[in-house]
Symmetry: C2
C-alpha cells in the first residue's frame, strides 16, 4: 500500500497529524488531507516535502 | 513500491513529466522532483493534488 503519514513541522519537530493519507490537496494556505477511509483533515500550512519511500508528507506550518 | 508519476496540467490535459518519482519538493514557484535513480527534474508550477492510490502527482503550470 502506498498511503503515507502526514506531519507538520513545528519548531524543527515533526508532529504527526494523520495516518494512512491517500490524497493531498494544497489550496490557498491550507492542505487538505484525506485518508484511506475518506476522513478529511485540513491543516494550515503548505507542503514542504514529500518522501514517498519513507511514506512521509511534511507540511510546514503557516506563519 | 510507492513511487508515483508526476504530471503537469496544461490546458486541462495531463502531460507526464517524470516516472518513478520518490521525492517532491515545492519551493518558490518550482517543484523539484527526484526519481528512484536520483535523477532530478525541476518544473515551473505548484502541486495541485496528490493521489497516492493512483500513483499520481499533479502539478499545475505556473502562469
Amino acid at each position: 500500500m502506498c498511503e503515507s503519514a502526514a506531519y507538520i513541522l513545528k519548531e524543527d519537530k515533526l508532529e504527526r497529524v494523520m495516518e494512512n493519507v491517500v490524497n493531498v490537496d494544497p489550496f490557498e494556505g491550507k492542505v487538505y488531507l484525506t485518508d484511506l477511509l475518506g476522513e478529511q483533515k485540513i491543516v494550515d500550512g503548505k507542503i514542504k516535502e514529500i518522501r514517498l519511500m519513507d511514506h512521509k508528507i511534511i507540511i510546514s506550518e503557516a506563519i
